[in-house]
Point group: D4
């Protein structure tokens, strides 16, 4: 078991049959499986083949849980989004956190253009053991969050936006050059990646 | 006189002699001249040729003022910077505002990673007739400003930063996709351009 | 009510149900709502759910107007397009202007390659309180307009064209480096953004 | 003699000694030689080695003319620039035209933001056998010229400008997507290339 | 009639109804019309609305010819392609040449990797009044052609290829930096543009 | 004191006088200061102005330490480099770790093309509380490290390499798409950023 | 017969009828034919037209073999993939190797994040006459392979991945800057190209 | 000794002292050393420190040879360049070939725009055991060479050219999409890389 986590299958570019086969082998050996980037049609097809497959539409993930989930002492991880279109990525992060035994606290739709709405949530943010910030377009949210909390901040750029949003690259580059120091960045739309960064940081038990 | 403003010469890629010649002709005809993007050496050389040339090192501009500056009823324009490296661009904007008869109010070094420092300045911001926001790196500042003031906001990306800052393109793209609506954007490092946008908007007398 | 304008919902990446829900809440509270970037199928679906939803196919916008539109003293805003393919973006601008209480004057299909056709419209252009210039491909129109009018000019690049048009980036970059000074630029295809820039500039009553 | 033209040496990345050697061999065989992209220092060094080397600083070219220049019946070629910073590229074109026996007519500094100045020159433009249009920044000039003349139009983007000018690529892409049809385009800063395109088009005698 | 040519409508992003309307107005006034970038479905729809519409599937163009085509003394224009996938672009050029009264000679599938096949065609190439070279991928063909013929050479990059072909930009940039001098370049896939460049160069009668 | 760390000044684009002034103010108030991206000449100039300024040439950092460094219980952080040209970035990370009270263990020159040399160091790697991996060119090292250790892995792309290395972007993008999951990424050449990510993760006391 | 290999047709952008025609002509003349980049629908259509067409779905290739395949003394070529999504590209390489008379040995799913799985296969790798390494995302595998074997290594980047994977360009650039020396690179997803590089290297009989 | 070749040091970004130290250690152990990308000043400095250092200015390489060079049975490798500016890269390849025991045959300045000059050299090309093709600008030469020889072809793009040459990327992408099949590509300006690819392919003794 690499790194003490469930096996995670990258669902994109695999057929339902291939996913069912690989996931079946792993879970048959008594290990939990998470599959990411599974669209609705593929999710239904895998569920038809593998009744134990629990598909989560918003997160576009599915899982088979044959062993108890890990129990970890770390406090809840805050998952913050700038807008509502960032939700699928945030939920992918939350499903992954769950798979590695971490609890999540959702703080959605707190973009910095509505600063007062954001400021109301700062106390909650400061209680988190780590903060995952999910934002598209100009990706400004991690800069503001990073200046207000001392905990680890992992920024996930999303492909939300058009034109100069560059399919997520503007948010990605903005997060990498954030004027708040110590912001860790992962790939565009990779809620999975952010959760795994947090998994490595927090106490394993 | 195009657009009712002083002639503005783009100083880059011109010799001191060429600048002196063109500027001399215009001022000789009784019209003010502003020259932008003039580095220190070139500024000194032009000053040696044209004693009336007033060079401003920080703004990298020079001017010859033979006619009174316009007097305009518009209130002061706020010029806000995220960091101290953004100053030359801000000062270029201010020299241009001056040339078109507009007054500036400096609010420097109020980047969003230090939110409390920023929040102290909001009342001042709200009094401005227009706001020019100068920021490099991830260029997050206009999103926060745009959400807090109803006046026109003109964002100037700067080439401050390295790596993923992309020489100012990350800030430029971020400002173009700002989640605050109605932010007008100009070219990278173009304090001149931002001032001219404001010039067009505010009452001419 | 942020910035004194109706709430504007970004329709892309939201389901008809989500749009109906959010728009219903806002209009239920007595406030007007505008939804942008809604394609024909989604527009029909929202209309089916919310009879008060007024969908405008060419602009790809929809709105619910429960309160009287603002009345503003500012004169008409000229909305100029280079070609006929730029119309959807121009109409999005016009629907947004309407929502913030501003009147529009259409000057369509006046690209600079047919200069005489363009010159016939200059007098009309000069009467506008502000000019929104919508152009794709090489985006040359704002440079010519900017040199002829003293009013604010807001340039909107469109994704019209192929190959070297780069999906609108060539027009975007061309407008940012326009040889006419004081041209304000917004994101590719963002008629909404241009209208909001104008909204900030013109007298609110 | 490939294509019936003098040999043209690309001066960049060659030492003065190498240029002197190659140019000496060709001219020694009784053929004219043109060298492009030679900066001032290198031009002086080659002149010191080869007294017959005629260096033209503004064009950054040098030549050795041992045979009479070709005489061609074609009328003058108009060479138009948008701004004064485009002059070196225009002069490189003119030196190349001269080398292939073509006469040039300069129309400098007629950028489209000052449309009236431009319109005064249209009659002259229409008399040219071909038009070379040299422009940087947004490169809008060829679109206007192309709509007004029926003769061949060759557009040369220049690297003049900063930020979104992208070192000439914005002008290049703008010219390739010009709304005026039939505009031929050459590489950034390639006055030489534009002159050679014209050379191919016009009668050889 | 701008530039003495039939009106050319850009078919992309227009509905069949819009095309029928505009084309009908022009042809109703006794002038020929060419429509480019019309896919098969749209071509059929316009034909159903306008019986006189002659659709050419391979070229993706349609035309209404109500006046006699111009008769011009210029010899045939060679249209050369590197591979068979470049045919649609070549045929668009040929339909445009026809519309402006120019005859075409096809030399297809003569890519430089099969040099002997190419060398057999050189004599034919040398007889052409102008050469349009259509090539995708690395776009090497214009360099070889340009070195062998003295006539005008217009290079059209195509979007044929994958990966590093960059949707035609590799061919575009390669043609712009061709080691053969005097190659004129047009936009990616623009057979129309190449024909219009040739139209401007050749005698009008 | 934002985030409980010493103030860190971005030295690029500031004069020695500006650095001396700002650093003097902070240290005068009893707080430690770190200055990053200070080249040798600037380092000497600041040292001349501020004798307490400790300049570290290899790391291109300087510091003034007026208060005791923090003492933290966390174990040593491994700082791994692929090649010797990556050293300055690694040393910048180490100076920053020191400033926030963390100890570093150097594992230099263990690139994956010499796998056996790398495998000898795995045991050491597994003892680290966190691993900072510094690599340029293709940036493959974090993928191998990430698969072998369970601790947090922070990857720093460097601008080492030429051509397709893209000044560090190839390593940056490679690290963001690493097949090892949970790798956190920071900006190109940002040893400082990596250390600050680690600072946030490890126990503060 | 160019280069002593079967004719290979690029299937993309050709209709089934065109493929059937060209393939029929070649095989009718007694020569083998391979068609690449043929999707399932097109494969079925060609098979219906040409019964001798052997379609291989996973490789997206088809062939007509009318002559015996070449027999070559060279040992087996190892074809290595990082993940299971890289299979289609690997199988295209294998079908091409077969067509030029070379045998393949598959080593699939040996990505470097699971180093122990990889190390088990090194002995097999070292026996190969050449190694084709197929990898997407960060493309790190060729660097590790290149350091462990002395035989020729040909790297094929694949378009597997999202966001910063850049559709295969990150892997492409990573392979071109690999810290293992002497890695030959081909175009993204070009299993065909890699096999042809190997074909040129190995003894022809 | 990795791969049976001399140690090769990447000279860029290392001080003369560092190079002298590393090279001294290796040669002191009886092994030959090659250092690449060493400019003239650094070459002189290393020579002053290490008298045995043999610096080759044109190739920008230096070497210490303490053991006899390998003797290999493979025939000469053709090294072909398109223009004279490509020479430094070609000579780097030749110095590397020498270091691994391979002989080179120079065919310089045979660009495809002068096809007849090129055709005279084809017989020589066909005798080579492998061909290294060095070309900048549009990089067309490998396509022509690849179609004429059956031996391995390794293409090296160079950074020669300006504007659309993109510092070598146009040649790089052109070579990767060459219409001649089986062309192996290496990094921009990497004569070293091409020689190492050839080293792997040819018999080791
Ligand atoms: N959403 C995701 N983004 C990036 N990598 C992923 C994702 N989901 C799974 N992976 C990785 O993909 C690997 C599995 O790939 P595969 O063997 O193709 O299923 C696992 O090691 C995961 O680390
Ligand atoms: N067409 C548009 N382009 C850019 N931003 C928009 C557009 N339409 C709405 N918005 C912005 O999107 C925000 C609403 O986002 P959401 O909460 O996701 O609906 C509003 O504050 C608007 O400023
Ligand atoms: N300014 C220039 N831009 C592009 N190509 C040029 C230029 N000057 C000369 N050339 C070309 O470079 C070739 C000569 O290259 P070289 O043999 O390196 O001097 C000639 O055939 C010209 O076509
Ligand atoms: N295939 C094409 N590529 C580029 N421009 C075109 C094309 N077809 C037509 N045009 C141009 O588009 C203009 C007509 O645009 P529109 O008024 O939108 O039909 C004409 O003036 C033509 O010059
Ligand atoms: Mg966002
Ligand atoms: Mg900033
Ligand atoms: Mg347009
Ligand atoms: Mg210009
Ligand atoms: Mg081709
Ligand atoms: Mg490295
Ligand atoms: Mg991979
Ligand atoms: Mg070349």
């Amino acid at each position: 078991l690499r790194q003490g986590v469930p096996e995670v299958i990258f669902g994109e570019g695999k057929t339902p049959e291939q996913i069912a086969l690989i996931a079946g082998e792993i879970s048959g050996a008594g290990q939990n499986v998470l599959v990411t980037r599974v669209d609705a049609a593929k999710g239904a097809a895998v569920s038809a083949l593998v009744p134990a497959f629990r598909y989560v539409p918003l997160a576009r993930t599915g899982s088979i849980e044959v062993a108890p989930l890990p129990k970890r002492a770390a406090g809840a991880v805050a998952v913050v989004t700038a807008g509502t279109s960032d939700l699928p990525v945030a939920e992918e992060a939350i499903e992954t956190l769950r798979a590695v035994g971490l609890e999540a606290k959702r703080l959605y739709d707190v973009g910095v253009a509505g600063l007062h709405r954001f400021l109301h949530r700062v106390e909650e943010l400061r209680k988190a053991s780590a903060v995952i910030v999910v934002a598209g377009m100009e990706g400004a949210l991690p800069s503001v969050v990073g200046g207000l909390v001392a905990a680890p901040v992992v920024a996930v750029p999303t492909s939300v936006g058009y034109g100069a949003a560059l399919g997520g690259f503007t948010a990605l580059f903005g997060m990498l050059t954030s004027c708040a120091s110590g912001v860790a960045v992962v790939n565009i739309d990779s809620g999975f990646g952010a959760a795994m960064v947090v998994h490595r940081m927090l106490p394993k038990e």
